[in-house]
């Protein structure tokens, strides 16, 4: 944690909020990723194909994406705290219930529907709502710390669940995951997380009452609204940045989901063993964990759109490497270059959306962008597979991926951040309606 003490020597309470949400992401993402550990056992135990088990996860992928605007809208109306608390509680009980699943239909219902829908309440866009309310100047840093919770969760919980499974059985592993969620995750959220700093008599970034009064006296909104803050969330789509961010994020979904799913198959087509391909993907994930922290912190010191554009262009290079370089060289180049950009787009997109559109509808807007990301990814997975079946090679889909990434990079770079971001264009106006605007509930 990079929590800096304030003038009185105390850490700003917002860092504790980030810590609790980090742990929630750690548990939820880590346990959901652990699903892959049990696939082969279920295949043998239930006598079903990997395809059938895959279908349950596919349902989950889509429902998780579709749930995002629902949770975002709910958080905008009643505050984020009840949403994450209920989601976490449902997840805990559902993890325990996984121990009683004995066929693929129950798996589809419990994992594909209930767990995946509830996980939408602990998604990067949902937990990001808290961060953008608690932080303004260190928004990128706090967002990247939060997102890294998922990466650390995968790093720690996957081996934990794997060895628990080896020491006992898969049912025990799920029960323990559920108990950890209910006994550690829920109380931590309950005790620490508040929807908004005002719920604790605090200000974003830990600013003092005096500073806020000075800002208000100078005509700058004490709590900055986005320059493109709109009364209705639909109106946000009447401005270019929302389309620029959403379009680029669809490309992010297309290029991450397609490669993640088809990577091992591509490697086989290049005479690379599945183990080596998996190792390369592991390296990509490790580089990505470091990259997301670095990019988030740097984004608080420069224009976020520059970094966002750079991330897409770097990923385009990784895609080109898959086409232009021979097998092993392509594999490792992709892992290293692609790893730099893999998750780094998430804190940048969420922070930039809040900088431009403010907090009033951030839940809904963040949820919608994540939804199109997920749906684009799901569609791309199918199309990449179809293309491979037709042409017997991934060259054309990868070329399309590279072209769309260059487009996403250029679109991101054309965002006029200095004109539309609260960081560069603070809103100077009397806003008597500010107090009336929904502030995320009382928490």
């Amino acid at each position: 944690m990079t929590a800096q003490p304030n003038d009185s020597g105390e850490r700003f309470y917002g860092w504790y909020v980030v810590g609790a949400l980090f742990f929630a992401m750690f548990l939820v993402v880590g346990t959901r990723q652990g699903f892959g550990v049990f696939v082969e056992t279920w295949e043998e135990e239930w006598g079903v194909s990997v395809g059938a088990i895959s279908a349950a996860a596919s349902i989950g992928w889509l429902l998780n994406g579709i749930s995002q605007p629902f949770y975002g809208r709910l958080a905008d109306r009643i505050g984020g705290r009840p949403v994450v608390l209920v989601s976490m509680t449902v997840m805990g009980f559902a993890f325990i219930a996984m121990a009683f699943v004995n066929n693929v239909w129950m798996l589809a219902l419990l994992y594909g529907v209930i767990i995946s829908w509830a996980a939408g309440g602990i998604s990067p866009s949902m937990t990001g709502i808290f961060v953008v309310r608690w932080f303004q100047r260190q928004r990128g840093t706090a967002m990247s710390l939060l997102i890294s919770g998922g990466s650390v969760g995968g790093l720690v919980l996957i081996p934990f669940l794997t060895y628990l499974f080896l020491a006992t059985n898969w049912q025990t592993a799920w029960v323990v995951a559920g108990v950890l969620t209910l006994v550690l995750g829920v109380p931590l959220l309950w005790g620490i997380v508040r929807s908004d700093p005002s719920d604790m008599g605090l200000h974003p970034d830990g600013d003092s009452d005096e500073l806020m009064s000075e800002r208000a006296a100078s005509g700058v909104d004490a709590v900055p609204v986005g320059p493109l803050d709109a009364a209705r969330w639909q109106d946000s789509y009447h401005s270019a940045p929302m389309w620029q961010l959403s379009t680029a994020y669809v490309v992010c979904g297309i290029t991450t989901a397609s490669v993640a799913v088809h990577f091992v198959r591509w490697a086989a087509s290049e005479d690379i063993s599945p183990g080596t391909a998996a190792l390369a993907f592991g390296l990509l994930s490790g580089i990505n964990a470091a990259s997301v922290l670095f990019v988030g912190a740097v984004s608080d010191r420069m224009q976020r759109k520059t970094l966002l554009g750079a991330m897409y262009l770097i990923r385009a290079l990784a895609f080109l490497a898959l086409i232009a370089l021979p097998g092993q060289a392509a594999l490792w180049t992709f892992a290293i270059v692609g790893g730099v950009s893999w998750l780094a787009t998430v804190p940048l997109t969420t922070s930039l959306t809040a900088d431009v559109y403010g907090l009033r509808h951030i839940g809904m807007l963040g949820g919608l962008t994540l939804m199109v990301h997920q749906l684009g990814g799901a569609l791309a997975v199918v199309l990449f597979g179809f293309a491979f079946d037709v042409w017997g090679s991934y060259d054309i889909p990868f070329a399309v991926g590279a072209v769309t990434l260059v487009g996403a990079g250029l679109i991101s770079l054309t965002i006029r951040e200095r004109h539309v971001s609260a960081r560069y264009a603070p809103v100077v106006r009397a806003r008597p309606d500010l107090d009336a605007a929904p502030a995320g509930g009382s928490g």
Binding site: F35, L164, I192, A260, A277, F281
Partner: protein, 78 residues
């Protein structure tokens, strides 16, 4: 659709091949019993929320105590 095979972006399932590779590597390097690894990782998992919760409670109590002291000082002397 082969989604859970290896969807590693955000929160989806790990590739079983990668999971198996990680397990073999840990076995090769550490050579510990599964129960021992579970115990070590269990302590790691427990440590963070316990530390975070305790720190947050301590800070809140200190803030409340300071607020209480400030209120006492504001009371006009008769």
């Amino acid at each position: 659709m082969p989604l859970p095979r290896s969807v590693l972006h955000h929160a989806e399932a790990i590739d079983p091949t990668l999971a198996a590779w990680i397990r073999h590597k840990i076995d090769d390097i550490l050579g510990l019993e599964p129960v021992t690894i579970v115990a070590i990782l269990g302590v790691v998992i427990l440590a963070f929320p316990v530390w975070l919760g305790a720190s947050a409670v301590r800070q809140r109590r200190r803030a409340e105590s300071e607020a209480h002291s400030a209120e006492s000082l504001d009371v006009p002397q008769s």
